[in-house]
């Protein structure tokens, strides 16, 4: 399977995605900004920056059907060491506590390990969004569990189901079995095990056009099933809503589910989720150093509103701390039901 970009699909262009999101179909509902105004939450403003999320590249060994990054083996956008150094310069000069590394598969960036080591020297907490199968993709990645442990990294990994069928349908044939093996390797070095302090968190996202069920109930079931069937332990399950962006938007349109899905997101708008939206305490850095409110805005090419601070070279923490968040209709995905963020539900 190829990326939308390589296929020259019209949705590879973010302007075409925005045209769908802002199109006629949703006119019967208030826009997201209008909805926030109704509940007295406009303008939506940042509350500071706790998380510095870096997309180190769009290359991935998987081609998942729901991927909002349109990542895959054919994507060549990779963060250079020079841009990583700009990240380090920013991090060295501020009190942002957490660095969240994502992609693509971040480990495919040739400077990934150097970057992690340098961030650790700054005494920051590091999250790596590891797709699990990368650990088995090549022998040079086999020692990633040990590398993660040595750098006290929090590992966050997608596993959309504890059954093979649903996982492979979304993420590709063989992904479930490799994910299970990788989780067992992480457990073997102490991840997810009691009293080690090595955090292993899993991510659930729906394999279809629907919202996640209760995160709490799902976590309980995951823990029981994964331990019973495979002896696997983990810490927390994050239930994340699929955003109507990129490949998942294509899926929704191709299956005739787009309007129903958007209706569901909009009708499930939960004002209680607004306060803890991740965009309010996160800055998202693109592979080329440009700055966004979140990874979704990044993929839609919607830069931060702070006109004088849109790139790492111009990083102005004071301006970014109080910036207005850039909104569009995909934002309904983060306020539906129990809310959604890179750390799971926000209004449990």
């Amino acid at each position: 399977m190829k990326s939308l970009k390589v296929l020259q699909h019209h949705l590879a262009d973010s302007r075409n995605q925005l045209a769908v999101l802002e199109g006629e179909g949703l006119r019967k509902h208030p826009s997201f900004a209008e909805q926030l105004a109704i509940v007295g939450a406009l303008p939506l403003r940042a509350k500071g920056i706790d998380i510095f999320q870096v997309n180190v590249g769009k290359m991935c060994n998987q081609v998942c059907k729901h991927c909002h990054v349109d990542a895959g083996p054919d994507r060549k956008e990779i963060m250079t060491r020079e841009t990583m150094q700009l990240c380090l310069n920013v991090l060295a000069g501020c009190s942002i506590s957490t660095v969240d590394l994502t992609g693509g598969a971040p480990e495919l960036n040739p400077d990934f390990r150097w970057f992690v080591t340098e961030i650790k020297k700054l005494n920051k907490h590091i999250i790596v969004r590891c797709n699990l199968t990368i650990i088995l993709a090549n022998k040079r990645f086999k020692n990633l569990p040990e590398f993660f442990r040595e750098h006290d990294i929090e590992v966050v990994s997608s596993l959309p189901s504890f059954t093979q069928d649903r996982t492979d349908r979304q993420r590709g044939d063989g992904v479930f079995q490799d994910s299970i093996t990788a989780l067992q390797m992480l457990n073997a070095v102490g991840y997810g095990e009691p009293d080690t302090g090595l955090l292993l968190n899993l991510v659930y996202n729906p394999a279809g056009a629907f919202l996640p069920p209760s995160q709490q109930a799902l976590e309980k079931e995951y823990k029981e099933e994964l331990f019973k069937n495979f002896g696997i332990r983990f810490n927390n399950l994050f239930a994340i809503t699929n955003m109507p962006i990129s490949r998942y938007l294509d899926y929704l349109l191709m299956t005739g589910n787009y309007e129903k899905y958007m209706d569901k997101l909009i009708m499930s708008f939960n004002p209680a989720a607004v306060n803890d939206l991740m965009c309010r305490n996160t800055i998202s850095v693109g592979w080329d150093g440009f700055l966004y409110d979140c990874d979704f805005n990044q993929m839609l090419d919607l830069p931060v509103s702070a006109l004088e601070s849109r790139h790492l070279k111009d990083f102005d923490l004071g301006e970014l701390n109080k910036r207005d968040i850039v909104l569009n209709e995909h934002c309904y995905g983060c306020t539906a039901g129990a809310g959604s963020s890179c750390g799971g539900a926000v209004a449990v």
Binding site: S161, G208, F210, P213, S214, A217
Partner: protein, 111 residues
């Protein structure tokens, strides 16, 4: 008026029954919410029970709602079809067990 007795858009209007009698509707929906909350049965298990009952009572709205709900809560297609077969077996059994009544009657009146 619609030319059909059933309209899928009406499912989302279920709450509108309060328009003609709010008091009873409020009581029903409050009870409904409590029934489907986590209890000694999980909300997930209750969803599968509801799916089977929906088929037994042949309510298209309920089938629509609980096919989605059960799938969203993580049941596989095979598990959901097994639940439908349970409903079918009970309904079929309910017919057939009356065969005993038929036999009793025939034996009563026959020579």
């Amino acid at each position: 008026m619609s030319n059909s007795y059933y309209n899928s858009d009406d499912l989302a209007k279920f709450g509108n029954i309060a328009e003609f009698h709010k008091g009873l509707a409020d009581k029903f929906f409050s009870y409904y919410g409590d029934v489907f909350a986590e209890g000694t049965l999980t909300a997930k298990e209750k969803s599968l029970v509801a799916l089977a009952v929906a088929h037994a009572v042949q309510c298209p709205y309920c089938i629509d709602a609980y096919s989605s709900d059960a799938f969203e809560k993580g049941y596989s297609e095979t598990q959901m079809m097994e639940a439908v077969h349970v409903a079918a077996a009970i309904k079929g059994g309910a017919v057939l067990v009356h065969g005993v009544q038929m036999m009793n009657k025939v034996k009563d009146i026959g020579m």
